[in-house]
């Protein structure tokens, strides 16, 4: 194995795993209370929602696309689910089940719109999803009458605060999504098609495949992930609000890219995305514990996102050099 190859691997998932470990060690040494079970539970809770969204985002980025609408779609999904779950006319279990479907359905519908519009008229996903960002925000403000919804059933709220063995339930849910994404991408024909399209769409088309279907489906999957993330959000904070979710798209894209997903498509995995989300979570938490203020932390995390994209271009360069 030569040097270039090694540095290439280090810039991928494995390297990011090492960076995550190093970050943890540094914060454990310098940050008081970082390496405590309570704080670990904290971090896992904090990264759950971003992880769930970022897995959906990974599907879309693997195709060479992007979804900027996830933040406001998430907000829309919470309000849809919130309206269902606070509907007193039904038994609690039914309300919860229907709320999950409402969140999922809202997310998937938005994803379907994004995918269909950008694929049918060959419009850059950037533009379509930017439009959706605004449409979903407007829709959620309209539906909710710009009010926050709370007073969820107690059973729901209790469920959200569960943390068996210190692992928050909502993190377990997001792990399930990571696992699901991993299986689909790694072991199914559909997953293979996603990588192949992101690599060379023309080759897939010449192999006699309907690339449009596969691409639209990826946006729907992303929307579904956002819908689930919305339910996780409600479990965590017990509110549904038309003003939440600002900037979530950036965090999700950053998690995917830091985790080794290439912005130009064709390369990456949900496992890497999980690591990327963890790096961002640990940084946020650790910097706080070593005494950095909110504003300064925002500068640092913003800078990390830029750094990740720069790193991505280096990865591409390195892989070309290896050819």
């Amino acid at each position: 194995m030569n040097k270039k190859r090694l540095s290439y691997i280090l810039m991928g998932e494995a390297g990011m795993g090492i960076i995550l470990l190093l970050l943890c060690i540094v914060f454990a040494v310098f940050g008081r209370n970082f390496a405590t079970p309570g704080n670990m539970t904290n971090i896992l809770t904090q990264i759950s929602i971003n992880t769930a969204i970022a897995v959906g985002m990974t599907f879309v980025i693997l195709l060479g696309g992007i979804d900027l609408s996830v933040g406001s779609v998430l907000s829309l999904c919470t309000v849809l689910a919130g309206l269902v779950i606070t509907n007193d006319g039904m038994p609690v279990w039914l309300r919860i089940v229907l709320a999950v479907f409402a969140g999922l359905g809202g997310g998937m519908a938005c994803g379907l719109f994004n995918g269909l519009v950008s694929e049918t008229w060959k419009i850059p996903a950037f533009v379509v999803t930017l439009g959706m960002l605004n449409m979903a925000r407007g829709a959620v403000l309209l539906i909710s009458d710009s009010r926050t919804i709370f007073n969820f059933p107690r059973a729901f709220n209790t469920l959200g605060s569960q943390a068996p063995w210190g692992v928050p339930l909502i993190f377990i849910f997001s792990l399930v999504i990571v696992f699901f994404g991993y299986v689909v991408l790694r072991f199914t024909i559909y997953g293979r098609m996603i990588y192949a399209i992101g690599n060379n769409e023309e080759a897939v088309r010449l192999s006699g495949h309907n690339t449009k279907f596969h691409k639209v489906a990826a946006y729907v999957i992303c929307g579904a992930a956002v819908g689930i993330a919305a339910i996780l959000y409600m479990l965590r904070l017990n509110i549904a609000s038309p003003i939440l979710g600002n900037g979530f798209e950036l965090n999700a894209i950053a998690a995917a890219v830091i985790g080794g997903t290439s912005m130009s498509g064709g390369k990456g995995s949900p496992i890497g995305t999980l690591i990327g989300a963890a790096i961002m979570g640990v940084l946020n938490n650790g910097l706080l514990l070593i005494g950095m203020g909110d504003f300064a932390r925002q500068i640092v995390t913003g800078f990390i996102i830029v750094l990740a994209v720069v790193l991505d271009t280096y990865r591409a360069k390195l892989s070309r050099m290896l050819d």
Partner: protein, 507 residues
């Protein structure tokens, strides 16, 4: 049962402005290698793309294995057993060899991919072709020749009986060509029908059984290779009717204007030497990918040149970037006018002023409108550009008038040498004639014109001297009086003989 696996009859295909295939017939037998030959634009690739389902034919019948087929799609063609090995390889470079071999036909059980089975079968087909690659290797990590073999393996795995290879050897070394030929012979002995598109006539002897020759979108002839001689083949490939009349003018050679010595830049520009005199048009002819455009780019300083000297009016000039070339008076009218030559959404005035802003601005960087209008007026009048006014949007001009603006904006600053790269591509006959007149006008005004074109008739018709290039080298230089289509084509196909040392086995 017919003796042919593919029979195409009276196939017709038109693209806007081009009759690409005109009543073409083509037959292929099982177990033979058929060379499909013809000049640039003869319709070889178009014909094969019709067979591969990339293009739909407008008329004609296609029979594959005695079955008449209607509209072909890439998928249908695959199912019929037709596989194209594309010239620009269509692979997913970040996926593995096995993943590429099964691309679009993945094996799965219960919705989950059977990776191990696909690996095993990839191994099998690679072994059968005696290709030594691990199916788990990422395709981007292997050489182009190996990628090509993976494409062949992919075709066989898809049960292809008919393989179409478009210029398969152009990027290969001698050893790699040998390996490829071994595979082709193996496939032939197994009864596959193979179509082999190539310009490299000297390679044909090693593998080809029959040849089909096309010219101007028409079928010319088909014969056994054993009955053919090189002369016969070249004779049939050229003989293009020269439909247009070229307005060539005689000016008499003036002093030496421009000289290029030992110019080298990468694989496609090797030891280029030529000179250009006042009052002459020098044509550069060659096949697709011969290095014509690369030579002009190296002269113009867009691509870095490794070595070489350029002299302009007796004085050496140093060109490392396009700006140097422009400053010293060498300008390029690029091949893609709309992309590289013009800002199509700006007005003619703005386009003409753009490269000359340094002459039009005062010290504070403000454009002097009076000087600008003066320059624009002179250029428009000097080239008789037909437009409604200087504020007309450049993109709305006709092709010929656009070209006049491209050249005109450069000549507004006393340029001495103008390089035209494919100036007539994709424009109608009237506009072509305007561009010919434009070149003549420059020539009469003592400006050196370098005229690069893949249309052999127009080079022969307009140039005073013709430089023929092949594989990035100059293979021949002919004065106008001595140049014929046959001769130019012969020299355009003087490839370095990579397959010389191959034994002439297998035929």
């Amino acid at each position: 049962m017919s003796e042919y696996v593919v029979e195409m009859e009276h196939v017709d295909k038109r693209f806007p402005g081009v009759h690409a295939l005109d009543d073409v017939s083509f037959q292929l037998r099982p177990g033979e290698v058929m060379a499909l030959l013809g000049e640039n634009g003869a319709g070889k690739s178009t014909l094969m793309k019709v067979l591969g389902g990339v293009y739909q034919r407008d008329a004609g019948t296609v029979r594959v294995f005695d079955r008449e087929v209607g509209d072909l799609t890439p998928k249908l063609a695959q199912e019929l057993g037709i596989a194209m090995i594309h010239q620009e390889l269509n692979m997913c470079t970040q996926l593995s060899v096995a993943e590429n071999i099964f691309l679009g036909r993945e094996l799965a059980r219960n919705g989950l991919l059977s990776n191990r089975e696909m690996h095993r079968r990839s191994r099998e087909v690679l072994d059968r072709l005696k290709i030594d690659i691990d199916p788990d290797t990422v395709v981007g990590d292997i050489s182009v020749s190996k990628q090509q073999m993976v494409e062949i393996a992919k075709a066989l795995q898809a049960n292809a009986k008919i393989l179409i290879m478009d210029e398969p050897t152009s990027a290969l070394t001698a050893k790699e060509i040998e390996d490829l030929f071994a595979i082709i012979r193996l496939l032939r002995s197994e009864g596959h029908g193979i179509v082999y598109i190539s310009h490299r006539l000297e390679e044909l002897q090693h593998i080809v059984d029959r040849v089909t020759i096309m010219r101007d979108g028409k079928f010319i002839c088909a014969m056994d290779y054993a009955d053919a001689t090189m002369d016969m083949i070249i004779e049939n490939m050229v003989g293009r009717e020269i439909k247009e009349k070229f307005p060539h003018v005689e000016c008499g050679r003036g002093r030496k204007l421009f000289e290029v010595r030992h110019l080298n830049a990468g694989r496609m520009v090797r030891d280029i030497n030529f000179e250009l005199y006042e009052g002459e048009i020098v044509g550069i002819a060659g096949l697709m990918g011969a290095g014509r455009t690369e030579i002009t780019r190296a002269i113009f300083g867009v691509d870095p040149s490794a070595s070489g000297e350029i002299t302009l009016e007796g004085k050496p000039v140093r060109i490392v970037k396009a700006e140097d070339a422009i400053r010293s008076g060498i300008v390029l009218a690029p091949e893609d006018r709309k992309r590289d030559g013009l800002c199509t959404k700006l007005s003619v005035r703005e386009n003409i002023a753009l490269p000359n802003l340094d002459l039009l601005c005062n010290a504070a960087g403000v454009v002097n409108r009076r000087r600008e209008s003066e320059m624009v007026r002179k250029t428009i009048a000097g080239f008789s550009v037909k437009l409604t006014g200087p504020e007309m949007i450049a993109g709305n001009l006709s092709g010929g008038n656009q070209q006049k603006v491209v050249v005109g904006k450069w000549l507004a600053r006393d340029s001495k040498v103008v390089i035209f790269d494919e100036p007539t591509r994709g424009i109608d006959v009237a506009a072509k004639v305007e561009i010919y007149h434009l070149m003549n006008r420059l020539k009469r005004n003592g400006i050196g014109v370098l005229f690069v074109s893949s249309e052999m008739p127009e080079v022969l018709g307009m140039a005073d001297r013709i430089i023929v290039v092949c594989d990035g080298r100059i293979t021949g230089v002919f004065p106008r009086s001595e140049a014929t289509q046959t001769k130019v084509l012969e020299y355009a196909m003087k490839f370095e003989n990579k397959s010389d040392r191959l034994e002439v086995a297998g035929r």
